[in-house]
């Protein structure tokens, strides 16, 4: 059914653009040119009007037919039934009455009927001075008809605050395209050699101005649209949507080149009375229409393609450009800065040469751009793989980290060692020792890590594990590697608040009896979280203390969540009385396993962590304070806890933890 939808979309866009473009041509190009001709006593514009009405009639018919086909294809997609089955009153009623698309389509049907009426009036008003006002009215209705297509596409969905910008950009893009591409057929018919040459020259110059204005609007609105639908270069290169968009841009560049030729070279010659220029102009305009038709078909296909911003890009090249490579060396940065300056100066010379008459571009200036570009490409190139820009479907949650830990223990620990330092038992026999994972992993893209784990690292003994681990297992392993690297940062954590170091608190779900399921991430923003991992009976005194002081802790801004380290010693049913809300949560045992990774101190010891472990998570999702082991005096620690909570609450707000934080 997609071919039907794409074809219907393309035909509908084309006919709507044609309707608007023809009217714009009459108002902006033909009428003023003919008014001058009439004053000079030559030429008549009646055949222009006849042509307009014939084209408009067929465009309206085509637009209604393609609009109905689009509606039928959409009803099929929405209901999940094949087109034949979807054509029943119930489904169509739901589509037309209960969806944004349906409401827009009903409105547009009204608009096209209104347009028919106004065009009939225009046709009947030959010789009537009110005709020009009717034409403008028709153009307004046609503009509404064309512009309302913005509500049938990707511009409608997305984040609410951006709605207005997106819709404005989409409508502007449609109208500008209609004014230019839709008016081209009328221009071609004007260039058939049956009209007075100077009138035609006038009209061509006016059309060229219309085209210039349209191109400016197209570029600005097109960039805005691309910003929302694509977002970045990997998405442009690595997705279907991006490839289609690049093809569209290529065709647009072709049209632009032809238009520039027409404006800069051929139109002045036509004005000077050169008849040969007429044929060349006509040919170029036909070529522009051909390229424009390709653009419209691509637009039809773009509408059914997932926007690039919502997909994981597949990188097609062996290399990519990355600033990461030069961040360490200063001389490379200097060289690149110098090369960039040279390129800018050369570009300025090229532009000035292109704008002078006659155009003269010095070869040296072109080399001044090409050589720095080559240097940039050579210095910034890093190896890249199809998954380099992929995003992990697995988030940084305790479950994934615990699964990843299990994979690491079975596949990786032999060479990489328990802490990822490359000191495993098998490492000594390797020709190249594994590098320190905790140093390398934070600086690499997760997509690169995925590829290396799945397919191995070339020229090293690291093998590929794609045959042993599924994709999801590899992504979980990467979450574990992230946690391993952050656990190293965590060795510096003490029982006092220190300046922020990147140690993210793994997210997890938990429940309190009688309350709905919650996640740790939901606590962010307003509250500090005190996580207590306990075992019974060792942690009992401390747990009693916390339960008794729950109200005070909550008033200080903290939420207490106590999770058992092993499922068999849960305090949920132990009947420990408190003065406020319950602090005993139910959570998966993997949560305690994941957090145990952050319990190691600088000297490698984690004495007591297996019995009792406490963390303070700040309001932004970072682990900040840690207490290991059962306290000697529960009372003193509570005073400590309160003072640290207060310090954290007083900290200024900052950006919260973001998953997938790679450059």
């Amino acid at each position: 059914m997609d071919t039907l939808l794409v074809a219907a979309r393309a035909a509908h866009y084309a006919s709507a653009m044609l309707l608007f473009g023809e009217l714009m041509f009459v108002i902006v190009v033909a009428r003023p040119a003919w008014r001058r001709a009439q004053r000079a006593g030559s030429g008549d514009g009646d055949d222009v009007y006849r042509r307009l009405l014939v084209v408009a009639r067929w465009s309206v018919i085509a637009s209604i037919v393609s609009g109905l086909a689009w509606l039928a294809a959409k009803a099929a997609v929405m209901s999940g039934m094949p087109v034949g089955q979807a054509m029943n009153r119930e489904t169509l009623g739901l589509v037309l009455g209960n969806t944004v698309f349906g409401h827009v389509w009903t409105l547009r049907l009204g608009l096209v009927i209104a347009l028919c009426g106004v065009l009939l009036a225009v046709g009947r008003s030959a010789g009537d001075p009110r005709r020009s006002r009717l034409e403008i009215g028709a153009a307004v209705v046609a503009a509404a008809y064309l512009g309302s297509l913005a509500w049938a596409g990707h511009a409608v969905a997305g984040k609410e605050p951006d709605d207005f910008d997106r819709i404005v950009a989409a409508v502007a893009h449609l109208l500008a395209a209609g004014a230019w591409l839709g008016a081209l057929p009328a221009l071609v018919s004007l260039l058939d050699g049956t009209h007075a040459l100077d009138t035609v020259a006038q009209a061509t110059r006016r059309f060229s101005n219309l085209g210039l204005a349209s191109v400016c609007v197209l570029v600005v609105s097109g960039l805005t649209n691309a910003w929302y639908q694509v977002g970045d270069v990997p998405a442009l290169i690595g997705t279907d949507y991006g490839t289609l968009l690049l093809a569209k841009l290529g065709l647009f560049a072709t049209m632009l080149g032809l238009a520039v030729t027409n404006r800069g070279v051929l139109t002045p010659r036509l004005a000077g009375g050169d008849r040969g220029a007429l044929h060349l102009l006509r040919r170029n305009a036909i070529l522009e229409i051909a390229a424009g038709t390709g653009v419209v078909v691509i637009v039809g296909a773009l509408g059914v393609t997932v926007p690039a911003a919502h997909q994981s890009p597949v990188w097609p090249f062996d290399h990519t450009l990355s600033w990461q490579r030069i961040q360490q060396t200063a001389w490379v940065q200097l060289v690149l800065a110098a090369a960039g300056t040279v390129a800018c100066i050369a570009a300025a010379i090229v532009v000035r040469g292109a704008l002078s008459r006659p155009p003269r571009i010095p070869i040296a200036a072109l080399a001044g751009i090409a050589i720095p570009a080559g240097m940039f490409a050579w210095l910034l190139a890093v190896p890249a793989y199809p998954t380099t820009y992929s995003t992990s479907p697995v988030r940084y949650i305790a479950d994934a980290i615990a699964s990843g830990a299990a994979q690491y223990a079975s596949q990786c620990i032999a060479c990489h060692g328990r802490d990822g330092q490359g000191d495993g038992p098998a490492a000594s026999s390797l020709p190249i020792k594994p590098a320190s994972l905790t140093e390398r992993v934070p600086n690499r893209r997760e997509g690169d890590l995925f590829w290396w784990i799945a397919h191995g690292v070339p020229k090293t003994p690291m093998p590929g594990f794609a045959s042993k681990l599924s994709d999801l297992e590899i992504w979980s392993l990467i979450q574990f590697l992230d946690a391993q690297a952050m656990a190293r940062n965590a060795t510096a954590m003490t029982d006092r608040v220190k300046p922020l170091r990147p140690v993210f608190a793994p997210d997890f779900t938990f429940e309190f009896i009688g309350r709905p399921q919650e996640t740790l991430e939901q606590q962010r923003g307003s509250r500090v979280t005190l996580l207590v991992f306990y075992t019974l009976p060792e942690s009992l005194p401390r747990l009693r203390q916390l339960a008794m002081r729950e109200r005070a802790l909550r008033a200080a801004g903290a939420r207490v969540i106590a999770v058992p380290i092993s499922a068999s010693s849960s305090a949920v049913d132990a009947g420990i009385a408190g003065d406020g809300e319950s602090i005993f949560a139910i959570a998966s045992p993997k949560v305690a396993d994941a957090y145990a990774m952050f319990a190691r101190q600088a000297d490698g010891s984690n004495e007591g962590a297996r019995k009792h472990l406490e963390f303070l998570v700040d309001r932004h999702g970072y682990l900040r304070v840690r207490w290991i082991g059962v306290p000697d005096t529960a009372f003193e620690r509570t005073t400590d806890t309160l003072s640290q909570i207060e310090l954290l609450m007083r900290e200024p707000p900052r950006a919260p933890v973001q998953w997938g934080h790679r450059h």
Binding site: T99, T261, A290, V304
Partner: protein, 140 residues
């Protein structure tokens, strides 16, 4: 791409009219090829769920809530909860929240302990259909 005849323009060479329509034909063929584009795959729009995907809840939840990344069309957005044998156990009243068009809810009766499968199919306001499934456990 056939080049623009720069030399032709400068030397006033007579135009080859048949050549322009050949270009037109070529572009139309390319356009027809573009129409056989792979369909927009159902891209996962699910942001989060409560009960969370893959988690275990203690006690039967009264509702299943699904949050999506885009606003939904209520007329074509559905969700079902099935038990281990594939029998539908939800109350059959999927509803898009009036205040937040990204939230889809369905009520649940008291569920016995076990694994349950959620199947959802939603239509976002930009007319894209998306579907998916996940499981959650109800623990005793």
């Amino acid at each position: 791409m056939p080049g623009i005849e720069w030399r032709g323009i400068l030397r006033h060479a007579p135009p080859r009219t048949g050549w322009a329509s050949g270009c037109l034909a070529r572009f139309l063929i390319a356009a027809l090829m573009a129409m056989s584009v792979s369909p927009a795959g159902a891209h996962g729009l699910l942001d989060r769920a409560a009960p969370a995907a893959g988690s275990a809840v203690h006690g039967s939840p009264p509702q299943l809530k699904l949050w999506f990344t885009e606003r939904l069309e209520p007329a074509f957005s559905k969700v079902r909860v099935l038990d281990r044998n594939g029998k539908q156990v939800d109350k059959g009243d999927p509803e898009v929240d009036r205040a937040d068009a990204r939230l889809l809810r369905v009520s649940l009766p008291k569920l016995a302990p076990g694994t349950y499968r959620v199947q959802w199919r939603v239509l976002s306001v930009d007319t894209h259909v998306s579907e998916g499934a996940f499981t959650f456990d109800v623990a005793p």
